[in-house]
């Protein structure tokens, strides 16, 4: 079953309570999403690590119910 924007935001919010989140349905099929996430938790981490942290928040759903999630992550500019 495809995911909704609210589902995606909830997973990210649970793992990154301070995050600024923007979600976009890339194709309109509820399976190909893009999300930009800004959180202090990403400070000092490589881009791959940041994305792995976000993927971990989905507890295995990415690649399953959520076919694809293109990510843009960043730490707030200090």
């Amino acid at each position: 079953m495809a995911m909704t924007a609210a589902d995606i935001e909830a997973y990210i919010r649970e793992a990154f309570p301070d995050a600024k989140i923007q979600i976009e349905d890339l194709v309109g099929d509820g399976e190909h999403w893009s999300a930009s996430v800004e959180s202090t938790a990403f400070a000092g981490r490589s881009r791959v690590q940041q994305h792995q942290m976000v993927y971990a928040a989905f507890k295995g759903h990415v690649g399953g119910a959520l076919h694809a999630l293109a990510l843009q992550t960043s730490a707030p500019k200090t």
Binding site: R47, H51, Y55, A70, L71
Partner: protein
């Protein structure tokens, strides 16, 4: 948890300077994200090897476990996991990919 594909993946990414795990192959990508990475590498005239995870379910799961990354495509340069479609695209647009390839002494344009 053992990874039956680990030996093969380790050999692939060691023997091939640029290794792309994808859906389909370079001539016939079978997923938009895989096609995007192929087009970037072709645009930069980077020699690369591909492996089609759709033909090998053990590899398809093994590569995700190997890199702790849930999706394909996955790009490796000199044995190092670089990222999937979004990271490779971002690095291409920012010029970071060209810098990385130069640092790793991989011919490109």
């Amino acid at each position: 948890m053992t990874n039956p594909a680990e030996t093969r993946i380790t050999a692939d990414i060691t023997e091939n300077a640029v290794m792309l795990y994808m859906k389909g192959n370079a001539l016939m990508p079978q997923c938009g994200f895989s096609a995007r990475v192929v087009s970037i590498l072709n645009h930069m005239k980077v020699p690369f090897k591909t492996a089609n995870v759709l033909e090998d379910p053990v590899l398809r799961e093994g590569i995700k476990q190997f890199s702790n990354w849930p999706t394909v495509p996955q790009l490796y340069v000199k044995g190092e996991f670089i990222g999937g479609c979004d990271i490779v695209s971002e690095m291409f647009q920012s010029g970071e990919l060209a810098t990385l390839l130069t640092e790793k002494e991989i011919p490109h344009e």
